[in-house]
């Protein structure tokens, strides 16, 4: 089954002569249970695609379907239970004046889910934190712990699809590995579908089966993970990107 299907997604800003294309005819699809990567340099439109799927941007053209249904006619409550998102900056994605308890309780209250305390404790246990963290505030946590809480908050509604917007790029290298392993384990355990945005090819190589390379708001090539090792991409830009990344890894 196709979990995410994006067809001819475009965004234009401005009118008349000043019209500028931000995203041009982006199409790709992600199977259920798959992890799909979006890579490209800064400003290539990766996060914009994610924000369109997350319904945080609304003025786009084209079709976005989740599990075969267009997100524009899906009831919002049902949509929230299907898709959640983890943001890039763990310092900005948790409300600074809300305790972890409040952050996790809110979605459960909105969707009137039963056994809130049990669910909250379970959600924290699943991301490797204990239930003592419920009474803490974000400023009392480290970056890695905050990102774990953000993942717990995203998973507490039991979504089937997770949108990940560079979830580890703001973290320390050692913490990065922990969070990536956590995400990989959660996906295996819950059979989640990931749409993973990153500019780090090594992270994408570790996390994703397939990926799309983006440049200037367009998808230039969709390839399997094996291409990253061989460097045999068809598109010249994708080839250049992979080579640059390989050379960087050697240099480090």
């Amino acid at each position: 089954m196709t979990a995410i299907s994006v067809r001819n997604l475009s965004i234009d800003l401005g009118y008349g002569l000043a019209k500028k294309r931000i995203l041009g005819d982006v199409s790709f699809s992600v199977e259920a249970g798959e992890s799909f990567g979006l890579v490209g340099e800064s400003g290539s439109g990766k996060s914009t695609i994610l924000r369109c799927i997350a319904r945080l941007l609304t003025s786009w053209e084209g079709d976005i379907e989740l599990e075969g249904r267009s997100i524009k006619d899906m009831p919002f409550a049902e949509y929230c239970r299907m898709v959640q998102m983890v943001f890039q900056d763990p310092y900005g994605s948790l409300h600074p004046r809300q305790s972890i308890r409040t952050a996790l309780q809110e979605p459960l209250r909105i969707h009137r889910m039963d056994r809130p305390l049990q669910r909250m404790e379970q959600a924290l246990t699943d991301v490797g934190l204990n239930s003592d963290f419920l009474s803490r505030y974000p400023h009392e946590l480290s970056g890695g712990q905050r990102q774990r809480v953000a993942i717990a908050r995203a998973l507490i509604l039991e979504p089937r699809i997770l949108l990940l917007d560079e979830p580890t790029s703001a973290l320390d290298v050692s913490v990065q590995a922990e969070v990536l392993n956590l995400l990989a384990n959660l996906r295996a355990k819950r059979n989640l579908t990931y749409l993973f945005v990153s500019h780090d090819l090594a992270v994408i190589d570790h996390m994703c089966e397939r990926l799309a390379v983006m440049q200037h708001g367009r998808v230039v090539e969709i390839m399997g993970r094996d291409v990253l090792a061989t460097g045999q991409a068809k598109d010249p830009y994708a080839r250049e990107l992979i080579h640059a990344s390989l050379e960087y890894d050697h240099a480090v």
Binding site: C80, F87, H95, Q98, S99, D132, R153
Partner: protein, 301 residues
């Protein structure tokens, strides 16, 4: 022994503090910070004395503020009447002490009206944006473009003189700066990831505004209200002085100055003591507001 005490403290630290307790600790920390700085400490102490005085006014006032004693008119300050007596023989100290109740009533009611109104107008305008924002901000601009005392005068003239109408008039003129401030704060938060996350979890606009945006705006709005209290006192005294606020028998400070004005040249105490009270209290609110801004603003740390 010291080592074991330290390790006990370490064990006691993690996680399990209750919510109410931490709010109480934060309040204590804010008060400690206010007292640590001489100017905000002065403000805090004067406001505390003001509150206490209003609370126990009948106990500490040496005379009844409204009893007329024609045998003792216009007495200069003496051991018997510390601040002297006015043209009807009423004790000025007692009248100033009872006047704290009127000033505090005005301040409290104005803050209770102005805070929520400003907060609601500002946060909704900032969050929704678009034409709603435009309309709300133009209305705010119109209110802002009048000098507040003149607008209060117009309201009192339309509604009739009296303390209640003065309070309503001051309330109507004091909310726009707070709405502006709340809107500006909201604009800086509304694009934050935690608002996006909350929206993705299905939170309604009302829930986001009340639970996520208002708590973020509250500290600066609180500071702004404290600072505007000085203006509120001055406006109330001004209306009282013009005979449009509190009416004669009430010991309102502005009204006391207005009646004392006629005897001012020979009997300075009629005007000096109520004037000093107004000065002291509005200065204290300004200093307290400045101190609160330093204590509550996390960006200045």
């Amino acid at each position: 022994m010291t080592a074991s005490f330290l390790s006990m403290q370490d064990v006691a630290m993690p996680g399990s503090r209750s919510n109410r307790n931490s709010a109480f600790h934060r309040l204590l920390a804010v008060i400690r910070e206010l007292l640590g700085n001489p100017s905000s400490g002065f403000g805090f102490i004067v406001i505390s004395i003001l509150l206490l005085t209003a609370l126990v006014a009948p106990l500490i006032a040496p005379y009844d503020p409204n009893v007329i004693n024609l045998g003792q008119t216009l007495q200069p300050p003496s051991a018997e009447h510390w601040f002297g007596t006015d043209e009807l023989g009423r004790d000025i100290l007692s009248r100033i002490i009872y006047g704290t109740r009127i000033s505090l009533t005005i301040i409290t009611i104005v803050s209770v009206i102005v805070g929520p109104v400003g907060l609601v107008v500002g946060t909704t305008a900032g969050y929704f944006g678009g034409w709603y924002d435009t309309i709300m901000m133009r209305v705010t601009d119109i209110f802002l473009s009048f000098p507040s005392l003149i607008l209060s005068l117009a309201f009192v003239a339309a509604l009739g003189a009296g303390l209640e109408n003065a309070i309503i008039a001051i309330g109507l003129t004091a909310w726009p700066p707070i709405a502006r401030l709340a809107r500006a704060e909201t604009l800086t938060f509304r694009g934050a990831d935690y608002i996006s996350a909350s929206r993705m979890q299905g939170a309604s606009a009302l829930r986001i505004i009340v639970k996520s945006i208002m708590p973020m705006c509250l500290p600066s709005v609180l500071v702004r209200i404290t600072l505007s209290m000085a203006t509120v006192i001055l406006t109330a005294a001004g209306l009282g002085f013009l005979g449009l606020g509190a009416q004669p028998p009430l010991p309102e400070w502005g009204a006391m100055i207005a009646t004392g004005r006629r005897y001012m040249l020979d009997n300075w105490w009629l005007v000096a003591f109520p004037g000093g009270a107004i000065l002291l209290v509005s200065l204290a609110f300004n200093l307290l507001g400045d101190g609160l801004r330093d204590a509550l603003d996390p960006k200045q740390r």
